[in-house]
C-alpha cells in the first residue's frame, strides 16, 4: 500500500493505492490525520484500492469523527463497487459523501 498527499485546486488529495488491511491501515491513518486539520478540504482518492478491511473502514470513520461538526470536509473518491457494498452493508457509507472522480469530488466539496 502507498499513500501520496498532494494539492488539487484548493483541496488536498490523499491518494491511496494497494490493499488497506490491519497492517497497512495505521500508515494510511497517519497520512490522513496529518492533513485532517480544521478547515481542511480533503479528497480521499480510493480508485487504486482493491480491498479495504474493517481496520481501513475504521480509519475512515475516525477521520469523519475528527473533522465533523464543521471542522472540515471530506469526500471519498473512486470507491470500487466491492468497497462501496461493504461500506453500505455495515453502515459506514452513510457517514460520507462520495464521488466517482476527483473533479466530481471537488464539486461535492464546494456543495458541502
Amino acid at each position: 500500500m502507498d499513500v501520496q498527499t498532494k494539492p488539487f485546486a484548493d483541496a488536498t488529495v490523499v491518494e491511496v493505492s494497494g490493499d488497506v488491511d490491519g497492517s497497512t491501515a495505521p500508515v494510511m491513518q497517519e497520512a490522513i490525520m496529518a492533513v485532517a486539520q480544521p478547515g481542511c478540504r480533503l479528497l480521499i482518492d480510493m480508485s487504486q484500492v482493491g480491498f479495504m478491511s474493517s481496520a481501513g473502514l475504521r480509519v475512515m470513520l475516525i477521520l469523519h469523527r475528527t473533522i465533523s461538526g464543521g471542522k472540515g470536509n471530506v469526500v471519498l473518491v473512486g470507491l470500487s463497487d466491492d468497497i462501496k457494498d461493504t461500506m453500505s452493508a455495515t453502515g459506514f457509507l452513510k457517514f460520507f459523501t462520495t464521488a466517482e472522480t476527483l473533479d466530481a469530488g471537488l464539486q461535492a466539496l464546494n456543495n458541502g
Partner: protein, 706 residues
C-alpha cells in the same frame, strides 16, 4: 498520564511476547499492544493457545498457558503484537478421557472459544467446507467500537407490540426480492424495512442468528437430489457470534458491524428486534457427535449427563446444555448481556425454555436460578423475555412457566384453541372466550402481556397451508413424512392443496382473514409468521427446517397475487394500533368501573346480552369492549363489538344498544370481498340497522361504536 506497565511483556515463546492475562472477561479481548485470551476449564490438566493466520489450515504457533497463567480454573494470557484482523485462535486441552465419568478430553482437537465473538469457517452461506481442515469453526477477536450515534433499545410497551417472526435468509433470498445487497443477508433485510413498516409490525423476531453450521447433518434429498441443510439454525455453534453466512460482508469477517447496522436501521424505523436464542443444546450432538468446543473443554460441566456419562436428550437433538450449572448459567447471562448491551437487542425468545428450568439431573426445578437471574438482571431489565414454555422431554409449562413477573410465553393453547374453533370443532366456546381476553385462566396474576398469541410459527403449517391441507406433506425432507407434528388442527377447506376452484380459494382467504382478525382483537401480544400476510405456502410441509429453497423463501410476487390478504393484514394491524382498548396491560374486570354504562367487556350471543355457553352453541361467540375502559379508563376509545360465526350458514346477531348516542359502524366484515372487508379508521360505514347484523358463514365482523 502515567503509562501502564502491563503493556510490556514478561515472557516470550517462539518469538511471541506474552504476559499473564486478565481472567475476565472470558474470551479474546483486544487490549493495548495485543490480545488477552481467557478460558475456563475445571477438569483440563493443560491448556494451549493455538493461533492460526486467518483461513490457514496449519497453526501459526501453539503457546502453552504457563502454570503462572492459571488462576483457579481459568487460563489467561496476553499475546502482544498480533494483528487482530488476521488471526484466528483456538485451544487445545488435555485431560482425562473417561466418558463414564463425563470426561471426553482429546488433545488432538483444536477447540473453538465458547465466548468467540466472531466465528470463521462458514463465511459464505452454502460454500462447501474444507473437511480436511483441523479447525472448522474458528474463533476470531473483534473490536466493539460500532458507531451507534444516538441509538438505544426502543423499550416499546410490550402490549403495543405486533411481532413478525422471520428468517433472515428466507426473507430476501428469492430473486423476486430484488434487493441490491447480497440476497438473504442482514444488508438485504435493511432494504425491506419499508415493507415491514407498511405492514405495521413494530417488532421482528429472528429465527436463530447465532453462528450455526448449515452443513451439520447436511444430505441430499432422496426425492429431489438437492442439498438439505441445517437451514433454520436451531443448533448453535457459538452463542456470542452472529451467523457469518447471513452477512453480505461475512467474507470479510464484518458480520458484527453488518448486524449492528441492521439493528440500528430497524430502531431508526421504530421496529424492535427480538432474537430467538437456543440455549437448550449445541451443535455437538451426542456420544457420536463432533468436537466443536464445549465437549473438549469441560464436557461434564457444559452438558447434562446421565449417571453413566451419556447425554440427556431433552432437546430432541442429541444433547442438553447444563444451563443450571453455575458456570454455564453465567455464560448464558454473559451472552444475553452482551447482545443487549453491545448489539442493542430488545428482547429474547428462548427456544424450548422449559429445559432452562431443569436441574443438572434433568428434574424440573420449582425455583430455577437461571430464569430468576435473567428476570432480575440489571442489564436485561428492559428486555422482553419470552419463553417457548415446553421442551422435547415432555415438560409443558404454558401457564405455569416460572415467570418472576417478567417472562412472557408463546401461548400454545391460544394457537390450538383458535385453530380448532375456526375449523369448526365443538366445545370450544368457553375456552375461546378466555383466549380472546388474554387467557386469564392461564395468566391470572401475570396479566395478558404474558401471552404471546399466535396461530402459526416457523414450526408447523403456514397460515395458508393451515387452511389448505388436512395433513402434513413432508416428503421433501427425506424422512418418508414421519417428521413434523401430526396434530395440526388444520382443515383444507374442501380440497387437499392447490386448487383452481374459486369457491375454495375464496373460503381460504376468508379463513385467513378470520384468523388475522381474531388475533388482532385478542388481548395479549400478537405474533405473525413471515409471509402469512401474503398467503405464503410451503406446499403442506410443516417442518421445513432443512429446505434452502422456495419452501422457505419469501416469494415477493405474492404481494401482487394475494394483494387482498396483504391489504387486509396492513389494515387489521392498523386497527389494533388505532384502538388502545385492544392493548391492555391488565385483565378485564367484567365490571363498569368508570361509569360508562357498560362493563369493560361483555359477552353476547345471537341475542344481545345473552351469551350462550351451553352445548347448544358450538359456533358463535360475540363480545363487546367498552372504549371508556381503555388503559384502565385513562384513554377514551371507541366501543368495539366482535362477532364470530364458524357455522356453515349466515346467522343474525342482535346488537347491544350503545349508551350516550353512540352508533355502530362496520369496521371489518370478512365475508365481504376486498376492499369492503375492512375499513380505514374514520371511514367505517354506519350500520343502517342498529339492532341486528348478519354475519356470513365462517366469518367475523368487527363494529366500532362512536
Amino acid at each position: 498520564m502515567v503509562e501502564r506497565i502491563d503493556v510490556y511483556p514478561t515472557h516470550i515463546h517462539e518469538g511471541y511476547k506474552l504476559r499473564p492475562g486478565q481472567t475476565l472477561p472470558f474470551g479474546a479481548s483486544i487490549v493495548p499492544g495485543g490480545i488477552n485470551f481467557s478460558i475456563f476449564s475445571s477438569h483440563a490438566t493443560t491448556c494451549i493457545l493455538v493461533l492460526f493466520e486467518k483461513d490457514a489450515d496449519k497453526p501459526l504457533v501453539e503457546i502453552p498457558f504457563l502454570e503462572e497463567f492459571r488462576i483457579g480454573n481459568v487460563y489467561s494470557m496476553t499475546v502482544f503484537d498480533i494483528d487482530y484482523e488476521n488471526i484466528e485462535y483456538g485451544f487445545r486441552m488435555d485431560g482425562p478421557w473417561d466418558p463414564k465419568n463425563g470426561h471426553r478430553f482429546d488433545k488432538t482437537k483444536v477447540l473453538m472459544d465458547p465466548y468467540a465473538k466472531v466465528i470463521g469457517g462458514r463465511d459464505v452461506w452454502g460454500t462447501n467446507p474444507d473437511w480436511d481442515n483441523v479447525y472448522q469453526h474458528r474463533s476470531r477477536p473483534v473490536l466493539n467500537d460500532f458507531d451507534w450515534e444516538h441509538d438505544k433499545p426502543l423499550e416499546l410497551p410490550i402490549e403495543d407490540l405486533v411481532i413478525y417472526e422471520m428468517h433472515v435468509r428466507s426473507f430476501t433470498r428469492h430473486e423476486s426480492s430484488k434487493v441490491e445487497a447480497t440476497p438473504g443477508t442482514f444488508a438485504g433485510m435493511i432494504e425491506k424495512i419499508p415493507y415491514l413498516k407498511e405492514l405495521g409490525v413494530n417488532c421482528v423476531e429472528l429465527l436463530p442468528i447465532y453462528e450455526f453450521d448449515e452443513f451439520e447433518d447436511s444430505r441430499r434429498s432422496p426425492i429431489t437430489g438437492e442439498m438439505l441443510f441445517q437451514y433454520w439454525g436451531y443448533s448453535t455453534v457459538g452463542f456470542f457470534a452472529p451467523k457469518a453466512g447471513y452477512a453480505a460482508t461475512g467474507k470479510y469477517g464484518m458480520q458484527v458491524d453488518e448486524f449492528k447496522n441492521l439493528v440500528k436501521e430497524l430502531h431508526a424505523n421504530g421496529i424492535e428486534i427480538i432474537l430467538d436464542v437456543v440455549f437448550n443444546h449445541t451443535a455437538e450432538g451426542n456420544e457420536n457427535g463432533q468436537y466443536v468446543s464445549f465437549r473438549g473443554i469441560d464436557n461434564k460441566i457444559y452438558y447434562m449427563l446421565t449417571p453413566d456419562g451419556y447425554y440427556f436428550n431433552f432437546s430432541g437433538t442429541g444433547n442438553t446444555l447444563n444451563c443450571n450449572h453455575p458456570v454455564v448459567r453465567n455464560m448464558v447471562l454473559d451472552c444475553l448481556r452482551y447482545w443487549a448491551a453491545e448489539y442493542h437487542i430488545d428482547g429474547f425468545r428462548f427456544d424450548l425454555a422449559a429445559i432452562l428450568g431443569r436441574d443438572q439431573n434433568g428434574a424440573p426445578l420449582s425455583n430455577p436460578p437461571l430464569l430468576e437471574q435473567l428476570a432480575h438482571d440489571p442489564i436485561l431489565a428492559k428486555c422482553k423475555l419470552i419463553a417457548e414454555a415446553w421442551d422435547a422431554g415432555g415438560l409443558y409449562q404454558v401457564g405455569v412457566f416460572p415467570a418472576y413477573g417478567r417472562w412472557a410465553e408463546w401461548n400454545g393453547k391460544y394457537r390450538d384453541a383458535l385453530r380448532k374453533f375456526i375449523k369448526g370443532e365443538e366445545n370450544l366456546i368457553g375456552e375461546m372466550a378466555s383466549r380472546v381476553q388474554g387467557s386469564p385462566d392461564l395468566y391470572a396474576t401475570r396479566g395478558p402481556t404474558a401471552s404471546i398469541n399466535f396461530i402459526t410459527a416457523h414450526d408447523g403449517f403456514t397460515l395458508m397451508d393451515l387452511v389448505s391441507y388436512n395433513g402434513k406433506h413432508n416428503e421433501a425432507n427425506g424422512w418418508n413424512n414421519t417428521d413434523g407434528a401430526n396434530d395440526n388442527d388444520s382443515w383444507n377447506s374442501g380440497w387437499e392443496g392447490d386448487t383452481t376452484d374459486p369457491g375454495i380459494i375464496q373460503l381460504r382467504h376468508r379463513q385467513v382473514k378470520n384468523f388475522a382478525t381474531i388475533l388482532m382483537v385478542s388481548q395479549g401480544i400478537p405474533m405473525i409468521l413471515m409471509g402469512d400476510e401474503v398467503g405464503r405456502s410451503q406446499n403442506g410441509n410443516n417442518n421445513t427446517y432443512c429446505q434452502d429453497n422456495l419452501l422457505n423463501w419469501f416469494d415477493w410476487s405474492l404481494l401482487d397475487k394475494n394483494a387482498d390478504l396483504l391489504k387486509f393484514f396492513q389494515k387489521v394491524i392498523n386497527f389494533r394500533q388505532t384502538h388502545a382498548v385492544l392493548r391492555s396491560r391488565t385483565h378485564y374486570r367484567h365490571a363498569d368501573y368508570v361509569g360508562s354504562g357498560i362493563p369493560d367487556i361483555s359477552f353476547h350471543g345471537t341475542q344481545a346480552w345473552q351469551p350462550d355457553w351451553s352445548a347448544n352453541n358450538q359456533h358463535t361467540l360475540a363480545f363487546m369492549l367498552s372504549g371508556d375502559h381503555a388503559k384502565g379508563g385513562k384513554v377514551h376509545d371507541d366501543h368495539i363489538y366482535v362477532a364470530i360465526n364458524t357455522y356453515w350458514d349466515a346467522l343474525s346477531f342482535g346488537l347491544p344498544q350503545l349508551p350516550h348516542g353512540r352508533r355502530w359502524h362496520m369496521a371489518i366484515n370478512t365475508s365481504m370481498p376486498t376492499p369492503e372487508d375492512i375499513w380505514q379508521p374514520g371511514s367505517e360505514p354506519l350500520l343502517g340497522d342498529q339492532h341486528t347484523v348478519w354475519v356470513g358463514n365462517r366469518s367475523v365482523i368487527v363494529l366500532v361504536g362512536r
